[in-house]
Amino acid sequence: MTRRSLLQRGVSTGAVLMTPAFLAACGGSDEPASSSRGSMTGTISMMNYPGWMGEKQVARFEKANPGLKVKQVTGLTDGNAAAAAQINRNAGAYDMSLANVALAEQLEAGGMIERVDLDRIEGSDRIAPKFRDAYPYGIATDLGKVGIGVRTDKVKEKIRSWQDLWDLAPEYSGQIDIVKFDADVLGMALLKEGYSVNSEDPEELEQAKKALLELKPHVRSFRSTDIIKGLIEGTAAITVTYDYDVAAAQQEADVEWVAPEEGLPAYLDGWVALAGTDKLAAVEAFMADLLTPRQYADFINTLGVAYTVPSAGPDIDPAIRDNPALRFDDKTLERVEFEGYAGEATPLRARIWEEVQAA
């Protein structure tokens, strides 16, 4: 990016962007187009979940940065192990990636992350401290909390905790759907037993397995798609899933969002630069661009997910900002625990999930 192109962006965003840190990140007046932090021209190749981007976000970024293009490569649809393997096998092919905490930790452990300098990324200080601390690998962009969606016209009892779900399961047997991701399923069982969602302790995991085996006969399905369909059509009374799913179901039926007392497993997504990139400065510029109010609002409003930048509230669609499941609520966030990389416990956790499926 040149100073000229920056000026062309106009006064409104210019006032925010014309800081020394941003200019440095963009390779503006302080640095040549190509520096030790990489080139500011060419194409940024990003591994991304399909469609996980603001509607006009990339077009606006490219317009503001005439020398840069963003190419999104579909990935991350088959789980963290597949994504990490794809990145490792194509080292140098991707400049950056969307990555939840678990994937970022795995990539970091494998030396596959190029740490960005958050001081060079204008707006990174607007990300809430909880998310900045949990995501030091890049910028935390959004999160998905796992809670309980309850059809209030079908369930008369008040559900407040995971324990309540277990207690009521026999009464609503065959009307309970649960999102199908082993980390989430194990996470809720571990929380119910009073442990961390990231436990690697075999005894704690064994207790969580027993709890899941107790619950399973009453579960109608573990699903990764159409999870809220049952809640909407009324064939499910209780659904354990992400906050944004419940928020979507609330548009169609009388559904209450429950953030269980014991805590909520959650994924925290973010953008990381990948080792071997020759466009670190461009990646940092793209990150800084996301954190500008208009672009971040576009990102969140397009995806309809919970956000990590509390000051973005006024620009966020009220349907998201004011929704009990998605709103920035400090009390709920205190109980949120982000799912991380299980390391050597990965096979054990995977086996427990298979045992639950097989039972």
Partner: protein, 282 residues
């Protein structure tokens, strides 16, 4: 010599294609199955170890094999029982109508397998037409419970693979000489006796081909149990997928896949030997 070169030239694209996209990946799978993996960097150490194979003996995985084989056997038998009358009926039609009916059998293949399976979710679901009819007849009060159950998976397998049974059966039945059937009739055989003693033995190659075409892919099926089973049933295909995509244990995933292939090949060879001995393929 010139003819030999021409033949080699014609065959080479196919040989190249099969080698590159079938034999090489298959070979890699076998090589990986004897390796070890670094779970962090996913670097495979290609040293020789049978560690991955020894883990398959675990009751969790043998149970998944047995469950998959049982489900696949059931689906194959159901496809045969449903497909045989259909194929027989088509083979008895005038030629033009046969073509029309065969196209009708093939119609499901015009759409994606995954889309078709999701279509079944609507049909078998608790808010679907079957549940609605059952409710209106007073047969059920709450949910139907067909979707996300082993019965749902079985229905899905039969629906998905039925055309693969009908087509080879039709070919075998269509080739049966009408004079043979007339002779059976002239000799006093009734319709059922003709079917049992003449048609079924003569259609044996089609029955075998159909069973192979249905049974093998159904054993390793991954999509149908995942969508219609609600992931409550651990099938062999799901275990393999989980090792590759969830855990990233490529050697164990490869060992599971290679073992299934070896087992299916062995079953096929034994089956073929038995059939050859009984003269069904003669």
């Amino acid at each position: 010599m010139r003819r030999l070169i021409a033949r080699a030239g014609l065959l080479s694209p196919t040989v190249l294609w099969a080698s590159l996209f079938f034999l090489v990946p298959l070979g890699l799978l076998v090589v990986y199955s004897f390796g070890r993996i670094d779970p962090v960097t996913f670097t495979v150490d290609l040293g020789f170890t049978t560690e991955a194979y020894s883990r398959i003996a675990d009751s969790l995985y043998t149970g998944a094999i047995v469950r998959s084989l049982a489900m696949s056997t059931g689906a194959t038998i159901a496809c045969l029982l449903l497909g045989f009358p259909v194929a027989l009926a088509i083979s008895r039609q005038p030629r033009q109508r046969q073509m029309l009916l065969l196209v009708a059998v093939m119609v499901p293949f015009w759409t994606s397998f995954v889309v078709r399976t999701y279509g079944l979710v609507e049909v078998l679901g608790d808010a679907g037409p079957i549940a609605d009819i059952a409710r209106s007849l007073g047969l059920i009060d709450g949910n139907l419970g067909l979707l996300f159950s082993p019965a749902g998976v079985a229905i899905g397998l039969v629906y998905s693979y039925l055309p693969l049974m009908v087509l080879p059966l039709y070919i075998a039945l269509e080739r049966i000489d009408r004079d043979v059937l007339d002779s059976a009739s002239d000799l006093g055989a009734g319709e059922f006796r003709t079917l049992r003693r003449v048609i079924v033995p003569l259609a044996a190659p089609g029955i075998i081909a159909g069973c192979v075409l249905v049974g093998i892919p159904a054993t390793g099926e991954y999509v149908v149990p995942a969508i219609l089973g609600g992931d409550k049933t651990l099938m062999y295909g799901n275990v393999v997928a989980n090792q590759f995509l969830g855990v990233g244990d490529y050697p164990f995933g490869s060992a599971l896949a290679v073992s299934l292939m070896a087992a299916m090949t062995a079953i096929l060879l034994i089956f073929r030997r038995q059939v050859s001995r009984s003269g069904a393929l003669a």
